[in-house]
């Protein structure tokens, strides 16, 4: 099973306003090529995308958040699994493409090449809906099920090494942030970028002078 074929199945299942958080590896360029959208956010700290996805899911409980992660990345941030389980946001679907290798770093093996099983680690962390899939049809049904459910899911897809020949991704971390936040401002209908502080002036100690709220910036 190839990751790119999984992503091709996933793309039509992802709604226009679903938020997709990727890690910085091959899944980022493949996904951005298949679903170019300002609703994609790329995390440039290896391992942190599951945590960014959790924060986003908690901040916007009415929106679906899909995290596209990998084995090397998740192994760097295993505590995120217990924290995700602890919070269990029903709008979070965490998909891990496990190619048993640090593919972006010369392809050395990860621990999943030997004994580690990320789906079972997820279950042990307390994620009830943690499944491992090895075939495309199983990937599709697991993801369809996860997207329809109102519970947190971990889907670990065992894939071959290899990244599809897609164009390189042209955005740096700063541009990714602005595109993503400006998109969210439009669909949420409120300003999010903090060019102004949330409170313009603090209350005086005698509390005779109350705090002054900022006038929010217009949404571009």
């Amino acid at each position: 099973m190839k990751r790119y074929d999984c992503l091709k199945l996933l793309a039509p299942l992802v709604g226009k306003d679903d938020l997709v958080v990727t890690n910085l590896g091959g899944v980022r360029v493949e996904w951005n090529a298949l679903r170019p959208s300002d609703a994609n956010y790329n995390v440039f700290t290896l391992g942190l995308c599951s945590s960014v996805g959790l924060g986003l899911a908690l901040a916007l409980p009415h929106r679906r958040v899909i995290v596209l992660d990998s084995d090397g990345s998740l192994l760097l941030n295993l505590p995120s699994l217990t924290t995700i389980a602890d919070q269990s946001p029903g709008n979070l679907v965490h998909i891990v493409f496990d190619n048993k290798a640090y593919e972006s770093a010369a392809g050395g093996p990860t621990h999943t090449a030997n004994r580690a099983d990320l789906a079972r680690i997820g279950q042990g962390a307390g994620i009830k809906n943690a499944v491992r899939v090895d075939f495309l049809e199983d990937f599709q049904s697991a993801v369809e099920h996860a997207l329809a459910a109102k519970e947190v899911f971990l889907v670990v897809a065992r894939v071959e090494i290899g990244t599809a020949a897609v164009p390189p991704d042209p955005y740096d971390a700063m541009e990714v942030k602005y595109r993503f936040m400006r998109h969210l401002e439009k669909v949420e209908g409120r300003p999010l970028v903090t060019l102004r502080p949330p409170v313009a002036r603090r209350a005086a100690p005698d509390s005779a002078t109350p705090a002054v709220p900022s006038s929010p910036d217009p949404i571009p």
Partner: protein, 166 residues
């Protein structure tokens, strides 16, 4: 840490516009964490490691929350890669409330090295920071720190020494 201190810090966070706190359980902070956890004005996420808190707070910020991360300096040092490549590189603000093990008023020898490297690392990263030494100053400092991180879209740190937390 008494009730006055936990109330002052919690109210200061809310009055500054903070509505989301991630923290790791810690002896010096435990009453404050309990107070924050129970406060309906704040979303609180208990962590298993500080670095994941940097990611959770970044995601919360992107989604419109105004986060603060409550950790000790050992956890700050563990979080430097995430702070560099998510916050500094990506323009994501974060109010860091850092308990200062090994700083002034420390009494345990085993925190000496952590204390010695904390400020040099903050300076090396270009993170603006202030010392919070007195409870009477902390409300204004939290307000100003949160304002600065919001508008500069870079992390800003307050180093809470142990005297301030008592």
């Amino acid at each position: 840490m008494d009730e006055v201190a936990t109330d002052v810090i919690t109210d200061a966070l809310v009055n500054a516009g903070v509505d989301f706190v991630a923290s790791l359980p810690e002896g010096n902070f435990q009453p404050l964490i309990g107070r924050i956890h129970a406060d309906p004005r704040l979303t609180h996420v208990p962590l298993a490691r500080e670095e994941e808190g940097v990611g959770i707070c970044a995601g919360a910020y992107l989604g419109g929350k105004r986060p603060a991360l409550l950790i000790m300096n050992a956890g700050f040092l563990d979080s430097t890669n995430a702070l560099a490549t998510t916050n500094l590189m990506g323009g994501i603000p974060l109010l860091l409330l850092i308990g200062y093990s090994g700083g002034f008023s420390e009494f345990l020898w085993m925190h000496s090295q952590i204390g010695a490297v904390t400020e040099p690392v903050l300076r090396a990263m270009g993170i603006v920071y202030e010392h919070a030494d007195k409870l009477s100053d902390v409300e204004a400092q939290i307000f100003d720190a949160h304002m600065l991180t919001s508008i500069t879209m870079r992390p800003v740190a307050l180093l809470l020494n142990k005297e301030c937390l008592r």
